[in-house]
């Protein structure tokens, strides 16, 4: 039998991954590295980040803008932010093209239980297109529940967690670590893919929103 025949008959796992629903990240380098070419929908994406202000939200803005876009043909769905550490600043979100009418801020009382309850309810309600949640500690069982809920509803569930949580087990479809690195005098956000269902771990440097954003703003004004 010819080698070509064998090649055609071998089942390759990444074909299954490609069929999954994704939402493009808006960054070509990152889209290329992720199976299907974007953030996985209907699954947990874990983002490990220590310290805020390193472009962790800007990485999500193109996808968030696409997700909140007003579409009369589609039902109104929320993108819920559960317990964000600071105030998501409405004018900045608008600058990134996000429709802020679709955002819902939820601040559960402290305690992991109520936070997980809020996440699960929000995902399960079927009226959320995306959920961004800040969760420090969550065990495998709780995450599995959330993963199932996200799968059921096709919801983009993002969990922001401290970097040391990456060592624990998790059913997440995508786990990435964010850090800030200096390359050619520009600060870039380094996305380290730790686990990726249907794809390969790797490191992607995402430029595109360097510190010159403000400078370019000035330039356009002149």
């Amino acid at each position: 039998m010819e080698w070509n025949d064998w090649h055609a008959r071998v089942w390759r796992g990444n074909a299954a991954a490609v069929a999954r629903a994704v939402i493009p990240t808006g960054f070509h380098e990152l889209d290329r590295a992720l199976p299907g070419g974007g953030w996985p929908l209907g699954a947990i994406t874990e983002i490990f980040v220590d310290g805020y202000g390193i472009g962790e939200l800007e990485l999500l803005m193109p996808a968030l803008a696409a997700l909140t876009k007003e579409d009369p043909a589609k039902p109104k769905k929320w993108v819920a932010w559960i317990d964000p550490p600071f105030v998501p600043y409405a004018p900045a979100l608008q600058q990134h093209g996000v429709n802020i009418d679709r955002l819902l801020m939820i601040h559960p009382p402290s305690g992991l239980k109520s936070r997980l309850w809020a996440i699960e309810q929000t995902v399960r309600s079927g009226s959320s297109a995306g959920v961004f949640a800040w969760v420090a500690a969550a065990d495998d069982v709780a995450l599995r529940r959330l993963q199932l809920a996200a799968e059921d509803q096709g919801c983009w569930l993002l969990l922001f967690r401290p970097a040391n949580a990456r060592l624990s087990r998790s059913p997440a479809a995508l786990r990435i670590v964010l850090s800030q690195v200096q390359s050619h005098a520009h600060a870039v956000t380094r996305v380290e893919i730790v686990k990726c269902r249907g794809g390969w771990p790797g490191v992607v440097d995402v430029a595109g929103f360097a510190l010159d954003a403000a400078a370019s703003g000035q330039a356009s004004r002149q």
């Binding site: 939200l57 800007e58 769905k77 600071f86 105030v87 409405a90 079927g126 403000a214």
Partner: protein, 499 residues
């Protein structure tokens, strides 16, 4: 309507003149009234109605107690309505005596009226013991008058032991015929003849009027109708002439329609004192079943409700539930209660739960989507409601941009975006804003200013003016910060992070 009012005015000013010739009655010929008469309502509305012992209901009249209604055992002993209490007590040895309770009678009648709204939208309560239904419009729906009467009879038999009803083309005639237990009169040409034979007692006119008519030798309604109109009006009274005209269909007979109460309340008693939320939930579920059945029957929805926990020797604990959008969905209401009960423990045990609905609102009819169980907007609202119900409404909110230069005032909490568009800042704004600017120490080695300054000087008019120079800065950890220097204090503050 205008015509009706006009004709009414005409009669009020000069009721002595015959309104029209007798062959052309004024009211629409398409009306058909059923009058329901409950002769022993005063007795049957009491809880002792089922008792086999002789019992009577009495009412004071001119200083003496008279029997208004009697139980079957009492009736067999020879006690009838109108018997003096002394006589009644002599007739039956172990007589139970109850005082008449008009509120209970009214309640019983209104409950029947609410049920009767199933038969027709035009129901009128004729105190103290009658009900009028206009059923001409319902004939087609039910098929025939007999079908309506069968339904009515079954329900009346379920509720009362004694009842009579009768159909006639005018409301007053139906009422009089029902009081006399006559047969139905369905044709206009038979109406005058049937009414003429009725004794004057059916009119329930005051005793002195009836005595006067009796002295004149008049015994029946027909006798009165035969008298000259002006003479009758002068000697007896215009209002009685008007009533005769209404009965014979010579002038319009307007009745106040019954309006069911626009709220609902019910109580569930718990077997014993309890703080157990599972027991509460069972009771709540039962109450919600009743409430939602009521809502469905009335084709209405509610915007909120109250749940009161009744304690012994203490003011009830009241929990109120507000819905973002009115609903009639039992599960949605139950979820709200579940969440609230899970969160809140009662300080003292409760013995009963009382549920009081908010004001009924008319149902908005919406075409259901073929593939979606519920419209999505409604689901989005339900989620909001549930979260706010559990965490409090301050903990769940949306974002709004406000046209304002001061950064901390350029956003607000709120779910409904205002129509006007906010100013879009020209300079880049950070995605994270600190609730309050935090004072920082700006040293050249720790903080590198990357761009700026952007001067923001605004708000002198409301005592919260700012004068700041904003910079984008970077610290040693690679974090992008939004910092400013206050003009007045010359000190540095951190106000945001470029997340």
């Amino acid at each position: 309507m205008a015509r009706v009012l006009q004709s009414l005015d005409l009669f009020a000013s000069n009721p002595v003149e015959a309104p029209r010739s007798k062959s052309q009655p004024v009211p629409s010929k398409s009306q058909l009234w059923i009058a329901v008469c409950l002769p022993s309502l005063a007795f049957e509305c009491l809880s002792a109605a089922d008792s086999a012992l002789p019992a009577v209901v009495v009412e004071a009249e001119r200083g003496q107690l008279h029997v208004v209604a009697a139980s079957r055992a009492a009736a067999e002993a020879g006690i009838a309505s109108g018997t003096k209490l002394h006589t009644a007590m002599a007739l039956a040895a172990s007589l139970q005596v109850f005082e008449r309770s008009p509120p209970l009678e009214r309640q019983s009648l209104e409950s029947l009226a609410e049920w009767a709204q199933m038969l027709t939208s035009m129901v009128s309560v004729e105190a103290p013991e009658s009900l009028l239904l206009e059923v001409a419009g319902s004939l087609k729906l039910f098929g025939s008058l007999d079908a309506i009467k069968t339904t009515l009879r079954a329900e009346l038999a379920r509720r009362y032991r004694h009842f009579r009803f009768c159909a006639a083309p005018t409301a007053t005639a139906a009422l009089w015929l029902a009081r006399a237990a006559s047969a139905d009169v369905l044709q206009w040409r038979l109406l005058a003849g049937s009414l003429a034979a009725l004794p004057l007692a059916v009119t329930r006119w005051p005793p002195e009027v009836r005595a006067l008519l009796h002295d004149l030798g008049l015994r029946t309604v027909g006798d009165c109708a035969r008298l000259p109109r002006d003479g009758f009006a002068r000697r007896v009274g215009r209002s009685y002439l008007l009533e005769l005209d209404r009965a014979f269909g010579r002038c319009v007979d307007l009745r106040a329609g019954f309006k069911a109460p626009q709220a609902w309340s019910s109580m569930a008693e718990l077997g014993e004192e309890s703080v157990d939320s599972t027991i509460f939930l069972e009771a709540v579920e039962q109450l919600l079943c009743e409430l939602c059945a009521e809502l469905q029957r009335r084709q209405v929805q509610i915007g909120g409700f109250e749940l009161a926990f009744e304690h012994l020797h203490r003011v009830p604990t009241v929990e109120s539930f507000d819905l973002r959008e009115p609903t009639f969905d039992r599960d949605r209401l139950l979820h709200l209660v579940e969440d609230r009960l899970e969160r809140r423990a009662l300080p003292v045990p409760a013995v009963a739960l009382r549920m009081t609905s908010g004001v009924f609102q008319p149902l908005e009819h919406r075409a259901a989507d073929l593939f979606e169980a519920k419209p999505h907007d409604e689901r989005a609202q339900a989620l909001l409601e549930r979260l706010q119900g559990r965490f409090g409404s301050a903990a769940v909110y949306g974002l709004r941009a406000v046209p304002e230069h001061r950064p901390e005032k350029a956003w607000a909490k709120g779910l409904e975006s205002e129509g006007r568009r906010a100013l879009v800042a020209v300079e880049a704004r950070p995605l994270w804003l600190l609730q309050k600017p935090v004072a920082i120490e700006a040293r050249q080695d720790s903080l590198k200013l990357v761009s700026g300054p952007e001067r923001i000087e605004s708000g002198w008019w409301d005592e919260q003016g700012v004068a700041r120079d904003y910079y984008t800065a970077k610290n040693g950890n690679g974090q992008k910060l939004w910092v400013f220097r206050d003009h007045r204090t010359r000190s540095w503050f951190l106000h945001g992070l470029f997340g």
